[in-house]
């Protein structure tokens, strides 16, 4: 058994850490306050090949693996969770399904610019009436000659403001229940498609969360991803992989909170000594670092299993996300506690980490949904 990263993975981790530390972290507070990730950061991410980490070179990607991708998300999120999810939603929820289910033509047309970061992707499943239960979506796609006509409203769509390419889920046949959902590649600017209001959020405020409106939006039939009725299956595969990304994001946030707390504990003096001398603080730090390491190993294992093509990896990605999101919550809560009143103010970063951590318990399947997945898998004997 080997726990070591490969030479390239180490180089990648070093590079992303350095980039994130020097270029992203100093701007994370402003990104949070202004609710926007500056365009030049997105351009730099593209230049570095971070929008197509695990995509083969022939499709414009960096030719690395899913483990590498997950490491990128952790390192970016350690600096700025909003930047982390921009890349994660793009990669896991749009790039990955096109790589897996796309026709050669779709790959040339959409995957290549997405992997190069010339175009940004967004994934549109959730609707006001359909969250955890994706089969209750009401968006429909009606076939008309060489087109599908899409009608419906999506909301809570990450990257809605930045994206050029949207993966949209709609019923092509409501009768068939989940087997009647299909996935479509929709370009920004397609007549009948508008991006609506943006949400104001507790955390990941730099990441856009948008409403999408489809009114008789005509999409070429060649933009159907996979086959008619395959949409539910495609979406589930997206979330299986995406959970690895969100787990990595959670670990990145927790890591940042832990590092800040360690530093603060060593320098904050009360009762004539650094508070790190108090066992109560030491125990918090010890728990933090232990939880983080366990969560990291879990997401790395899930990513590694995905790279090996092992189907049951989805059990591990659900466990990784469930555990890592809880770790992020616990660690960021204790990080504020260690900082005392300072931690409650915006003069320190820990309050942002605390706000950012919460979303990891919600999107790409709530913690309750993860437990359902895990329970179903183990009861099936996986």
């Amino acid at each position: 058994m080997r726990f070591e990263l490969t030479e390239e993975q180490k180089m990648l981790k070093d590079m992303v850490r350095r980039f994130a530390e020097e270029q992203v972290k100093p701007r994370a507070k402003k990104i949070d306050e202004e609710g926007q990730i500056p365009r030049d950061i997105i351009e730099q991410l593209a230049e570095l090949g971070l929008f197509g980490v695990h995509v083969p070179e022939e499709y414009g990607g960096s030719g690395m693996d899913y483990v590498s991708y997950a490491i990128v998300i952790e390192e970016l999120s350690r600096a700025c969770a909003s930047t982390g999810v921009l890349v994660s939603a793009h990669t896991s929820l749009v790039v990955d399904p096109i790589l897996k289910f796309g026709t050669e033509e779709q790959k040339r047309k959409y995957l290549v610019p997405l992997a190069k970061g010339e175009k940004i992707g967004a994934h549109a499943m959730t609707e006001p009436g359909a969250g955890t239960d994706v089969t209750s979506i009401s968006t429909t796609a009606r076939k008309e000659g060489d087109y599908y006509v899409i009608n419906g409203v999506k909301h809570f769509i990450t990257n809605g403001r930045e994206a050029d390419i949207f993966l949209v889920f709609a019923y092509t046949d409501k009768e068939k229940k989940h087997k009647g959902i299909s996935a479509f590649i929709v370009e920004r600017g397609t007549p009948g498609f508008t991006v609506g209001k943006l949400e104001h959020k507790l955390g990941i405020r730099g990441s856009s969360t948008a409403e999408l409106i489809f009114e008789d939006c005509k999409v070429p039939a060649s933009n159907l991803l996979g086959e008619e009725g395959q949409g539910f299956y495609i979406a589930m595969e997206c979330y299986d992989g995406g959970r690895v990304g969100i787990a990595a994001q959670a670990v990145g946030i927790a890591q940042a909170a832990y590092e800040d707390s360690l530093e603060f504990a060593k320098t904050r003096v009360q009762f004539g000594q650094p508070i790190a001398n108090f066992q109560a603080i030491q125990f918090k730090l010890a728990d933090m670092v232990t939880l983080i390491e366990a969560a990291r190993l879990l997401y790395l294992k899930a990513a590694w299993l995905k790279d090996q093509g092992i189907k049951s990896y989805y059990l591990y990605s659900a466990m990784a996300k469930l555990f890592a999101s809880d770790v992020a919550m616990r660690v960021t809560r204790e990080a504020i506690q260690i900082h005392g009143g300072y931690g409650y103010t915006t003069d320190y970063n820990v309050e942002r980490y605390y706000r950012d951590a919460k979303i990891t318990e919600i999107y790409e399947g709530t913690v309750e949904a993860q437990r359902l997945t895990i329970a179903r898998a183990i009861l099936k004997g996986i």
Binding site: E8, M11, L12, D14, R18, L48, G49, V53, S62, G63
Partner: protein
């Protein structure tokens, strides 16, 4: 025209140095490409991108981890590497290092092939600042160290060297040794595709016998200097506060300076 960069693998600046007895404990050190060498490699690669140079070779002497430093240089954009690895080299000092590097350089065609020889001004571990000048001397060519700018014009170069309170501008004929300092350029972050490409670029390996160097000419036996021991800098003591009435405090202070600090 071709360029060669001589690079070194050094402990990361964030590494906590530990000692076992009076020797360095290298077991948990994380190594990186020496940051000054990074400036050198970046400069060579920029010269290549500008069409001035058509090959960038990287040479490093060191244990197996030196290969990682070479890979980092290849990820920045260098074309191929040469790695000199030999157990006998352990304990070699600056002049021995310079001699070995010169032999490897000659094996690659030497000055017939390479006109621009780039170095980092210093390696952040040994910090002798001497290998670039030694190599220039051994090869009989000029060296401009501590440079912040390098322009190549035909077989001439204009290099700007930082000196106390100002800059010196040199015009030199190639071949020449240049040693880079901070400010020469802003090294790029190697992109993921470049990291993957670096994996496929060739690294040639030499032992000292490949270079025709006898084992008693290198390592501890071949060196003029030897590191006898390493010690950690003394721990900083907490400050001492003297409180009370002025007359009393002054007296106590003088006593402290005389008897404890021993400076008056």
């Amino acid at each position: 025209m071709k360029a060669v960069c001589f690079v070194k693998s050094v402990p990361d600046t964030e590494t906590r140095v530990r000692l076992t007895g009076n020797r360095l404990d290298k077991s948990e050190i994380k190594y990186i490409l020496n940051p000054y060498c990074e400036f050198a490699v970046e400069e060579a690669v920029r010269k290549k991108e500008a069409g001035i140079v058509d090959e960038v070779l990287v040479i490093s002497m060191g244990p197996s981890r030196a290969q990682e430093a070479i890979r980092s240089a290849l990820a920045i954009g260098a074309d191929r590497g040469v790695h000199i690895e030999d157990d006998n080299l352990d304990g070699s000092d600056a002049i021995v290092t310079a001699r070995v590097l010169v032999e490897a350089f000659k094996k690659e065609g030497g000055l017939d092939n390479y006109q621009i020889l780039l170095f980092g001004l210093r390696a952040i571990d040994g910090d002798t600042w001497s290998v670039p000048s030694m190599i220039a001397e051994l090869l009989g060519i000029p060296a401009v160290t501590n440079i912040v700018k390098l322009d190549i014009n035909g077989n001439k170069a204009i290099a700007i060297r930082m000196v106390e309170g100002g800059e010196e501008v040199f015009e030199v004929e190639l071949p020449c040794v240049f040693a880079a300092r901070k400010g020469l350029n802003e090294p790029r972050y190697p992109s993921l595709p470049s990291i993957m490409k670096a994996k496929k670029k060739p690294i040639t390996r030499y032992t000292i016998s490949d270079l025709g160097i006898p084992s008693d000419a290198v390592g501890k036996v071949g060196s003029f200097t030897e590191v006898l021991e390493y010690t950690l800098p003394p721990q900083r003591q907490a400050g001492k506060k003297v409180e009370g009435e002025p007359e009393q405090v002054v007296e106590e202070l003088i006593k402290f300076l005389r008897e404890v600090a021993n400076i008056i």
